[in-house]
């Protein structure tokens, strides 16, 4: 069996929220007990509504947050307790592409400088202290790889469109030849026409460079296009995971079914057959007891209010955290 590039076991992340001077401090449960494996060369799609903890999970996977609990193994190394300094040597192998192509590029640095930064910091490609010629050659390669022109190097981020900026961000993430890229909603800030270009670019790069992606998105269509496996998150937990086509065609969790039903159907019709969701997402400050989804679930029963359903690990590629799944899995 192939060893996973990244393995998360029981990852939990909570934030302490202070309620002003008189408010009592409360705990925000952003990610609760998430376990997953990312295999080499695959794209794991991570979908869910806004605020369900997708981005926090993505940042936890790269250890941009300290974990509240759980273990993360990257290429066999336990990175869940390493300090930021100790993580630095591993950073070249795991990279991130950000959602906001405006906020993730320092407005006061030139594009060439931005792309060269990781190379200079890690003294790559050759390890020499001053290797401007090599750095420059590598920057030019990266520029071609993501479809930018050489005369873009001396310009500043504000002179570019959203799609071009995202290409700059991708070039920067690729500079160190990473194994794994966590893409945090890389196309949701872009125009639809540009989205397709960037998604295609990411897929091409995966093919040529053998990259592994964790692709975070709320746009189901994009995930269906790029992901080999899809994980659905609700209120900080993964409630269903499986091969993309299976998850999309035969959803096993009532929430997945409702999420898919909420996508407007170009020909009308079919959508009406599935139940729409009632109510609002519960607050991660006070998650419901038992199954987090039970207050909104059309098939909830007494058991769901008390007992939290878990994903069955090692039960097969298809797992669902539900007492009454719509499909038989595993």
């Amino acid at each position: 069996m192939i060893s996973p590039v990244l393995e998360a076991i029981g990852v939990t992340k909570t934030f302490d929220v202070t309620g002003g001077v008189l408010g009592r401090p409360r705990t925000l449960h952003a990610v609760t007990n998430v376990s997953l494996r990312v295999m080499r060369g695959e794209t794991l799609g991570l979908v869910g509504e806004s605020g369900c903890g997708k981005s926090t999970l993505g940042r936890c996977l790269l250890r941009l947050h300290t974990l509240t609990d759980g273990t993360i193994r990257f290429a066999g190394t336990d990175i869940s307790r390493l300090s930021m300094r100790a993580l630095r040597p591993l950073r070249p192998r795991m990279q991130m592409v950000f959602q906001d192509p405006y906020g993730s590029l320092n407005p006061r640095r030139r594009v060439g400088d931005l792309i060269a930064e990781p190379l200079r910091v890690h003294r790559l490609p050759s390890g020499a202290r001053r290797a401007e010629a090599e750095t420059s050659a590598r920057v030019h390669d990266l520029l071609r790889l993501v479809g930018l022109k050489e005369d873009h190097l001396a310009r500043y981020p504000h002179e570019f469109s959203g799609g071009q900026r995202q290409r700059i961000g991708i070039a920067r993430a690729l500079a160190l030849n990473p194994d794994l890229i966590v893409a945090d909603e890389p196309v949701s800030a872009l125009d639809v026409s540009v989205q397709a270009q960037v998604v295609n670019l990411l897929m091409d790069l995966q093919e040529t460079l053998g990259l592994t992606y964790v692709f975070i998105a709320h746009d189901l269509a994009v995930v269906r296009q790029i992901a080999t496996r899809t994980a659905v998150m609700y209120l900080g937990a993964i409630i269903e995971i499986g091969p993309t086509e299976q998850v999309f065609c035969t959803p096993a969790h009532p929430y997945t079914a409702a999420l898919l039903a909420a996508v407007p159907h170009p020909h009308g019709g079919a959508a009406g057959a599935r139940p729409m969701l009632r109510g609002e997402v519960a607050s991660p400050l006070s998650p419901p007891s038992g199954c987090a989804f039970h207050p909104r679930c059309p098939s909830a029963e007494a058991r769901c209010r008390v007992e939290r359903p878990m994903l069955a690990p090692d039960s097969g590629p298809r797992q669902v955290a539900c007492h009454f799944p719509l499909q038989e899995t595993g």
Binding site: L64, L87, Q99, S104, N106, R108, V121, H122
Partner: protein, 349 residues
């Protein structure tokens, strides 16, 4: 609107001193282009340059135009203006001829603005005083901004205990009224000088007012810097740098500092205006620049007793202070507008 061609061409002016590739580009170039269209700010900058150059030329003015030593009393001397010989200190215009009145403005080279109570040339002292006032205000501004940048960036970036300690120190400093603090420090230090280990600053050194004025305004710049850095430290591009494995020190220098620089630049003229006023106040109270050296504040103090006989002695430095402070404030406003990325002003290319 003035056609663009008639606006002063800063770029071609700068090209006289710098190579093309060294000229600011990107956000700085945009700001420069905006500033170029702000005529009030340009006029202020020109006024300030004029005042600074005039003050720098003080020794030449004193020797060759006024022909007098403005630091020595000229009590019983005479001066020849337009063929007439005049007493510098004239008998007072009262029935008993008690006391004396200094020479009024002659509007000639010598004693252009008249003499002060000790028969010294007010115009020459005004220029010499401007040197001290501007030097103290400028140096204190640099000190203040340097301290504010260090404290603000450390507090905002490090957070936690370091932020708590630094912020509380700023609060303590801020809790004192600025003038009360400056006056207390000055009274103590001017009488004794400052002795820290092997270092000694004499009581009449300009370093004392510079240090005092530089420190009292630190919270005013450090707090906004801290707030800005607090936001920057949580920005995506800093997170991106962390994800790239960039060490904190490099993030501070390469990612945070350039984004704080424009804020510091906007603060510079505004803080300098405050410093100039504070310096004048301290000098007026005899706890800033020490005689016989002059500053605009000491000249106003000299003019205090002459306010009925020779009001120009107090008015001239007062006008100099007002013009300089006004110009600094207008320039600061212009810089703020030029550097604000959200400003509505459009740049014509």
């Amino acid at each position: 609107m003035v056609p663009a061609s008639r606006a002063p061409n800063i770029k071609s002016f700068l090209l006289l001193f710098f190579k093309k590739e060294d000229l600011p580009s990107g956000p700085w170039r945009v700001a420069l282009a905006r500033l170029r269209q702000d005529r009030a700010a340009l006029a202020s900058a020109a006024t300030l340059v004029l005042i600074i150059v005039a003050c720098l030329l003080a020794p030449l003015y004193a020797r060759h135009i006024a022909g007098t030593d403005p630091f020595r009393p000229h009590l019983d001397e005479t001066v020849t203006i337009g063929g007439r010989t005049l007493d510098i200190l004239q008998p007072a215009d009262n029935p008993l001829h008690l006391g004396s009145a200094p020479l009024g403005p002659t509007w000639h080279g010598a004693y252009f603005l008249g003499a002060d109570g000790q028969g010294r040339d007010v115009a020459a002292r005004l220029l010499y005083g401007g040197r001290n006032s501007l030097l103290i205000a400028g140096a204190a501004t640099l000190l203040c901004l340097a301290l504010a940048a260090i404290v603000g960036i450390l507090a905002g970036f490090m957070g936690g205990v370091i932020d708590q300690i630094l912020s509380r120190l700023l609060d303590i400093l801020w809790a004192f009224p600025v003038y009360l603090l400056a006056i207390s420090l000055s009274v103590v230090l001017i009488s004794q000088g400052l002795h820290i280990g092997p270092f000694t600053i004499e009581a009449d050194s300009l370093l004392l007012p510079i240090a005092i004025i530089g420190i009292v305004y630190v919270p005013y710049a450090a707090r906004p810097v801290r707030g800005l850095v607090l936001g920057l430290a949580r920005s995506d591009f800093v997170l991106a740098a962390v994800a790239l494995g960039v060490p904190n020190r490099r993030i501070l220098v390469r990612d945070i500092l350039p984004n704080v620089a424009s804020t510091l630049l906007v603060f510079a003229p505004l803080i300098m205006a405050l410093n100039l006023l504070t310096e004048s106040a301290l000098s007026f109270l005899q706890i800033g620049v020490q005689p016989p050296a002059a500053s605009w504040g000491t000249i106003i103090a000299d003019g205090q007793t002459l306010i009925y006989t020779s009001p120009i002695v107090a008015i001239a430095p007062g006008v100099a202070i007002v013009i300089t402070v006004l110009a600094l404030n207008v320039l600061g406003d212009g810089l703020r507008d030029a550097l604000d990325p959200r400003a509505k002003l459009r740049v014509r290319s």
